[in-house]
Symmetry: C2
Subunit: 211 residues, 2 copies
């Protein structure tokens, strides 16, 4: 196997942000310089050039970057060409919102089924997505080649759900429960710890320089 250079996490986190600005830029222009991107994103021009250079030959000296090429390039790096099948564990409020929140459907992330333990929810639908019995989740994942599992349960059920996800073969987990989960090395995880974010916000509200 070819040795790919290891790209730091910090770089990867910036890519979706570049992507957002490029998507806007596409509407009005063909080219963009690192300096212009710097003014938009707030990153230094130097950092932007460093970041993009990790992936090869996007720019052209004396010209800048072609917006379309760069946008599509970042899509390809992130893996946004293909589509991803997702299932969700937990059809309560949070699950409902995430399943309804159609923003990322456009980029190919599709929730195909929701699973819950609550008999009152089983059989109902969120959008056109059916809520099934939690006991059938593992089989469903195996039979339908699910790529990503979304955890919208309470923190007490989250590890159990993660275990089922992993043993059934998902490759990624999007976790909204406020716990850190134990998962095997070959499964990727992205945590959205909402209350952690709120607590950091509180800190900064109480510790701003202006006084």
């Amino acid at each position: 196997m070819k040795e790919k250079p290891i790209i730091s996490n910090a770089v990867i986190r910036r890519l979706p942000r570049y992507r957002r600005y490029l998507k806007e830029l596409k509407k009005s222009t063909d080219k963009v310089s690192s300096k212009e991107l710097s003014e938009l994103t707030g990153y230094t021009a130097s950092q932007i050039r460093q970041d993009l250079n990790n992936f090869g030959d996007f720019g052209q000296q004396g010209y800048g970057y072609n917006v379309d090429v760069l946008f599509e390039g970042i899509n390809a790096i992130l893996g946004l060409g293909k589509s991803y099948n997702m299932v969700m564990a937990g059809g309560g409020n949070l699950g409902k919102a995430i399943a309804n929140h159609n923003y990322y459907y456009k980029t190919g992330f599709i929730v195909t089924a929701i699973f819950d333990k609550n008999p009152e929810l089983i059989g109902k639908k969120i959008r056109d997505i059916e809520i099934y019995d939690y006991l059938d989740m593992k089989d469903y994942i195996e039979e339908n080649g699910i790529d990503i599992g979304v955890i919208c349960t309470t923190k007490d059920s989250a590890q159990e759900v993660a275990d089922i996800f992993c043993s059934a073969g998902v490759r990624g987990i999007w976790n909204f429960a406020p716990v850190d989960l134990q998962i095997p090395d070959n499964v990727c995880i992205e945590n959205v710890h909402l209350s952690d974010a709120l607590y950091s916000l509180a800190y900064y509200m109480n510790n701003t320089k202006s006084e």
Copy 2:
């Protein structure tokens, strides 16, 4: 004014995580060492001691840290003693979920009102929180001393909402819209860019070492 040492953002982001583990530990033990915390959190013991030392005298040599003292200490640092009044702009799916998601109510973050432009939503309730006309938002914030504004609108309305929030005097913004917002220096912002997180996850799913 006394010069407080500037604590790096990386440290602040780890505090809520320490807090979560300490909350669990409180149930079973009085004391914890940096080594034990390291095993739980995955941070190195050295880093934990460095982090905690930013804030003074939590530990005791030869003993470790008192779990209660440390837990309360971190609460105090984050500013979790007091309560925070919040309003939400956007009573759609995402807003509904966040308003329903009661996890952070316990720590004093209380949504007191929701505002929307949609006449079909105005007058309805989410939980016991009423949805009001968006036009009344500014007055409400000013009259009720609101601390935090939550943005659950589409990306196209988000900047407008942020402007109203800031001019009405909120001190913090919790933004769920997929845009970066312009805000004055004295207002703090915490962005939850859900799709950005999903795109990073996709990257790692396509670029894991195991192949």
